[in-house]
């Protein structure tokens, strides 16, 4: 892990301590699950200062306080609880589910739900409530459908139902090992079914969960204020304490301008900020506590359109990769704030990540030229652009600043220049978020390369990226259009394999194949960075999920 701050120890007190022991006992009986053993707070007995409101400066403001965009996950993490949690090392830990069992055919999951948990609107959080949530995610009701869970589970999910007040059963059509990983992502936080009946408009504005904070008010364009849930009793096992949060609330400000955002931390107008500007990276590390999480799932990568020339030829795809010194581009553009990621298949924080692929296709212009010659792109026109059969080697890169930080554009400009040396004519097609979402510059004939990422804890993302088109319905999440049935076979086998070692092996087999075929080329990672003022302690990023900032354990220094 790259987090510069040491992982603080955790702390259990009173009733939660009891809970933890009970949990440990329950867990021991589970089969097929690695054991969860919480460590105990080293400074037990030292009172933590309570009170205060955290002023947190965030980057983008979503249109709804929950949903499929990662910006929405961050918010949801504060006010809702998930069925299960995922620890830093990828192990699944109890949260709303105190324990669970998986049937032998791996198709039936039975969860024991934590008792006495209530949503903040007073609705009981029981098995039925969770079942309603899960069934809603996969329904076609636009108010309930979950844009993250659906693509993962639509092929395997059958039904969720409460078989007892505190016992939930999820039935699958086919085994799907990453199910619990999916449940552990913040976008799958459980919301009050009573509240959900109010309709999307109200829920977006004031969603109701059971989490440590309650959405108090959303002043659009300015901030979301959260207040402490005084009755909070359902913290995940991976948290540092149990019971209500220490601080009185969070003022979650939206400060899209990075100068303002970073400036506000400098002047002490905020206690923590999200996304440290690259240009301030060094300064931030010297002044503030810096937290960082490199998200799992795919890295930020270049997807090469492999279904038509020139990138239908694997030699050309590889040549493009060799011709660009992406490491130099990333290092300069992000000024060291983001690492280069050569592995286009999987991000380095995923458990299945293969380090040896991290430097794949290192800059080698000779090799690039060689491959292109080999692929028949031998002629060059006046401008030095390679030509084959009268066609120029033109490469259009579509991208949007919804998926790329400001500095990323600079890196693309470097790539543009470097690839020119090998005879690529690279053209940038920046697209504003709306157009990008509307599919502009993303049609089959609109691009050769597109820049995208998809956050997830790990390799389960392969399903989304590489599921081949079925029944004429294209996989809209596979922009490289690379379809390989052998690869899909391996991925499916991995998903159904419950032995971690074997599954990891299978996923890594797929990972090698992807890198080798080069339908996607690594570029950099998506990271979550947080700078916190020295007086704010114990803020952490949920490394087990996608690095959501967690303020539940946070508290102010005595000095404040």
């Amino acid at each position: 892990m790259l987090s510069p701050t040491a992982r603080p120890t955790r702390r259990f007190t009173g009733r939660s301590n009891h809970l933890a022991r009970k949990m440990a006992a329950t867990l021991a009986v589970l089969s097929g699950l690695s054991q969860w053993t919480p460590s105990v707070h080293a400074q037990e007995g030292v009172a933590v200062k309570r009170g205060g409101v955290i002023r947190y400066g965030h980057f983008q403001e979503p249109a709804c306080l929950f949903g499929g965009w990662v910006q929405q996950w961050y918010l949801q993490r504060q006010y809702s609880d998930n069925l299960v949690a995922r620890s830093d090392d990828g192990k699944i830990a109890p949260w709303l589910a105190e324990s669970w069992t998986i049937s032998d055919d791996k198709k039936v999951y039975t969860f024991e739900i934590k008792p006495n948990v209530k949503f903040t609107d007073g609705t009981a959080l029981d098995a039925q409530a969770i079942a309603d949530n899960i069934n809603g995610w996969l329904s076609n009701n636009p108010d309930l459908r979950n844009p993250t869970a659906a693509p993962y589970l639509s092929d395997s999910f059958e039904l969720a139902k409460a078989i007892a007040p505190q016992r939930l059963q999820v039935t699958l059509k086919v085994p799907f090992e990453p199910l619990l990983n999916v449940f552990a992502q913040s976008s799958q936080g459980i919301l009050s079914p009573t509240a959900l009946k109010r309709g999307l408009a109200v829920n977006c504005e004031k969603p109701v969960g059971s989490g440590p904070f309650i959405v108090d008010k959303w002043r659009h364009g300015r901030e979301v204020t959260f207040r402490r849930n005084p009755d909070y009793n359902s913290a995940p096992a991976i948290a540092k304490h149990q019971g209500p949060a220490y601080v009185d609330g969070i003022s979650w400000k939206f400060l899209p301008d990075q100068t303002v955002r970073y400036g506000s931390l400098i002047t002490g107008e905020t206690d923590a900020i999200y996304d440290i500007p690259a240009v301030a990276w060094k300064d931030a590390n010297s002044r503030f506590a810096v937290l960082r999480h490199i998200t799992g799932g795919t890295p930020l990568r270049l997807a090469l359109y492999a279904a038509r020339p020139p990138f239908d030829d694997v030699l050309v795809r590889k040549a493009f990769a060799y011709s660009t010194d992406r490491k130099a581009a990333v290092d300069t553009s992000f000024l060291g704030s983001l690492p280069f990621e050569g592995n286009g298949a999987l991000s380095q924080s995923s458990p299945e990540y293969l380090h040896e692929l991290g430097q794949a296709y290192a800059y080698d212009i000779r090799k690039a030229n060689q491959l292109l010659d080999q692929a028949g792109w031998t002629e060059r026109d006046r401008n030095g652009v390679r030509v084959k059969n009268g066609n120029s080697l033109t490469v259009r890169i579509s991208y949007s600043n919804a998926f790329l930080k400001p500095d990323g554009e600079q890196a693309l400009q470097v790539i543009q220049q470097q690839a020119r040396a090998a005879g690529f004519d690279v053209r940038l097609q920046p697209t504003n978020p709306a157009d990008f979402f509307a599919g502009r510059n993303l049609g089959p004939d609109d691009y050769e390369i597109v820049l995208l990422y998809w956050v997830a804890p790990g390799a389960e993302i392969f399903r989304i990226s590489w599921k081949p088109d079925q029944n004429g319905e294209p996989n809209r999440f596979n922009p490289s259009r690379f379809q390989d049935s052998a690869l899909w076979e391996v991925i499916q086998r991995a998903e159904q394999d419950f032995s971690s070692a074997e599954r990891k092996g299978l996923y890594q087999q797929a990972e090698r194949k992807i890198v080798d075929e080069a339908p996607v080329i690594g570029f950099t990672v998506l990271d979550v960075t947080l700078a916190t003022s020295p007086s704010l302690k114990d803020v952490w990023l949920d490394h087990g999920s996608v690095g959501e900032p967690v303020f539940y354990d946070a508290h102010f220094d005595e000095r404040k």
Partner: protein, 287 residues
């Protein structure tokens, strides 16, 4: 119709000479500045010291120095050369937008002023409505509908500023329509189209030259405002608004990346305003 007696042919030339010889210092300096940027727009290579697109990762984010007069950006590109390179696109946008808004304004304004009656009131209402919508908002509407591009930017700024011009042209035309010399021409029995062509239009147009001059500067400011919001031209084109937008992220640590493009916009618009104001003063006979 009648053949006019042109006694002094070389008058316009003489006036131009006179204009150049007897301008105040600030106007001369402004003309020089405009000339510099126009030259940069036409032949950027002449004035540039570096390739504006050449990335030199070893000299990234250097402050202004003898080698890089105005410093470098994150990719080590020479800012001075980039600003000059951007002049072309910025000027084109400014000119294009002004030309568009002037054409629209001319057609509508002249139509309104000359037709009078119902058509005039309808057109005037239309100006009112468009005038009632803030320029930038109108521009945002266009960007929303057509998506950001150079053309959208030109159209957005052009349409956004047109109602103001149209109103002015209409007012100008109406006031000239009521002057003594138009009446005198009418009393001489000249047909109305001829009066429009020979008296009303030329006299209404001459203040527009000043207006256009100032308008180009304003159009560049509006356009870079759009770019500043990230709704402008695609990189790596160093259009001034794009430079401003990019520089904003570095302003705490590399001030020149924000200050210099902003200064370029300001100085260019200022020069145009000074020259335009001077032209207007001359036309109004104040000098």
């Amino acid at each position: 119709m009648s053949r006019s007696v042109e006694v002094t042919v070389s008058r316009p030339l003489g006036e131009l000479l006179e204009f150049i010889c007897y301008v105040p210092f600030r106007v001369a300096a402004s003309l020089a500045t405009i000339g510099f940027f126009v030259l940069a727009a036409i032949a950027p290579k002449v004035l540039q010291t570096h390739d504006p697109l050449a990335i030199d990762l070893s000299s990234s984010l250097q402050s202004p120095s003898i080698v890089h007069w105005l410093g470098t950006d994150q990719l080590g590109r020479d800012l001075y050369s980039r600003v000059l390179e951007g002049a072309g696109q910025s000027l084109a946008i400014g000119l294009g937008a002004t030309a568009l808004s002037m054409s629209v304004a001319l057609i509508l304004g002249v139509a309104a002023a000359l037709s009078g009656g119902l058509l005039d009131s309808i057109l005037t209402r239309i100006f009112d409505v468009l005038f009632a919508i803030p320029t930038l908002l109108l521009a945002l509407v266009f960007v929303t509908v057509f998506g950001p591009s150079v053309l959208t930017e030109v159209i957005a700024v052009g349409i956004g500023t047109a109602p103001g011009y149209a109103r002015m042209i209409r007012g100008q035309m109406l006031s000239i329509k009521g002057t003594g010399y138009v009446e005198a021409a009418k009393a001489l029995g000249h047909p109305f189209p001829r009066i429009v062509w020979r008296h009303i239009l030329p006299n209404a147009m001459s203040p527009l030259t000043a207006m256009v001059t100032i308008g180009v500067g304003q159009a560049i400011i509006w356009a870079s405002g759009l770019a500043f919001l990230g709704l402008g031209v695609a990189p790596p084109a160093p259009e001034w608004g794009a430079l401003l937008n990019a520089g904003r992220n570095y302003v705490i640590y590399a001030w020149w990346l924000e200050i210099i493009p902003g200064l370029a916009v300001t100085i260019f618009a200022l020069s145009l305003t000074i020259v335009g104001g001077h032209l207007q003063d001359r036309l109004e006979g104040k000098i």
